[in-house]
């Protein structure tokens, strides 16, 4: 599907990374993706170190294949989790929300590959200079916390900016997206939203139903004015947040209403005051399947689309 730069680096079969999604991608989903030949990703999010440890143990019991932990650098437990990953012999770390330089040396000395998520070419260049092994360039179509540049532009500019492997993320849910990412210069893809509806994903059924029902215009990037936009499926919470005044009182209320909102949606199934994070490509996700079926479908679809393109059909 792609040259073997990324698969070799990570020791995986297919150049497909499952996006780290807090409160959504736990051991169950991550282990299934790794077992199917992709790179499963446990999302640490804001969860306590003990929880992350237990989930890592579960993954290691379920599969011998490589998996990654997505570390949210702004988490109050980031420091502790950084050390835990070394102790638990995790082989791949994906970082979000900032610059992982602080931990880079000790991770790499312990044989951990480090892939930061980047949202601009300048950040990608910096990450390469710091010595990161690859970058995940995530466009604004993605779900959850997003950057300003969309995938169509971000992938080629990052490709031109660095020589390390580039993983395309944001908006990819089928073979067409994967082929497009390849054309834009990526060495692999990261897919989040589609895996939310995997049978192995333990997210609340209400959340899955929302993804399956979503149309192209159903997501919105909330909190643009806060400087940390978050893409979610429109619901009561999203509408309330968008109507808040853009002053200090508004910001305070924004934070209060957002607090714990992802947990409410993903774990408790609260579709009104919960935050249903999802990418625009939820519109392309129509069926609940097993992880194995999803990956087979992605590869099969990719091959069909490629053949069509080659035949100029």
């Amino acid at each position: 599907m792609f040259a073997d730069k990324l698969t070799k680096l990570l020791g995986i079969e297919h150049p497909i990374i499952q996006g780290g999604m807090a409160w959504v991608s736990d051991a169950s989903l991550a282990a299934a993706v790794s077992e199917a030949g992709g790179l499963g990703v446990l999302a640490a999010g804001n969860a306590p170190t003990e929880w992350v440890k237990d989930e890592i143990i579960k993954i290691q019991k379920a599969t011998k294949k490589p998996f990654a932990v997505n570390v949210m650098l702004l988490s109050p437990y980031a420091e502790e989790i950084a050390d835990l990953l070394i102790k638990m012999n995790v082989k791949v770390v994906i970082t979000g929300a900032g610059d992982p330089s602080k931990y880079l040396k000790k991770w790499q000395e312990n044989g951990i590959k480090v892939l930061p998520v980047v949202a601009s070419s300048a950040l990608a260049k910096r990450m390469q200079r710091s010595g990161c092994d690859a970058v995940i360039a995530e466009g604004g179509e993605a779900g959850g916390h997003i950057g300003k540049i969309n995938t169509m532009t971000l992938i080629p500019v990052v490709r031109d900016a660095v020589s390390i492997p580039v993983v395309a993320a944001g908006g990819i849910a089928d073979g067409r997206g994967i082929l497009a990412a390849k054309a834009l210069g990526a060495d692999g893809v990261q897919i989040g939203t589609r895996f939310i509806v995997a049978k192995e994903c333990t997210v609340h059924p209400n959340y899955k139903a929302k993804i399956l029902k979503a149309k192209d215009i159903d997501t919105v990037a909330t909190g643009q004015h806060t400087g940390h936009p978050v893409r979610v499926i429109k619901n009561k919470l999203a509408r309330t947040l968008e109507k808040l005044p853009q002053n200090e009182a508004g910001l305070t209320e924004f934070e209060e209403k957002s607090k714990g909102a992802l947990y409410r949606a993903a774990v408790e199934g609260d579709m009104e005051t919960g935050s249903i994070m999802a990418g625009q490509c939820a519109a392309l996700v129509k069926e609940e399947m097993t992880v194995k079926e999803i990956i087979a479908d992605l590869i099969n679809d990719y091959t069909n689309v490629l053949n069509k393109v080659l035949k100029n059909d």
Binding site: K102, K125, R126, G227
Partner: protein, 75 residues
Amino acid sequence: MVFEKVKEIIVDELGVEEEEVKLESNLQEDLDADSLDIVQLAMEIEEAFDIQISAEDQKKIKTVQDIVTYVNENK
């Protein structure tokens, strides 16, 4: 002069007016730079003055004065 050059880069990068860029201006609060803008700005400063700003140092840079001081101390 370092400040003049830094000002020129900030005006160019952030699309702000020259008059807005003062030594005491806070990049995020006064000049509306977000975290991606600051990374981009750091790259431009590095190129213009032929220096390297480490990630740790970059985090400490909050104001225009911080940039000028950093450049003066490191070039």
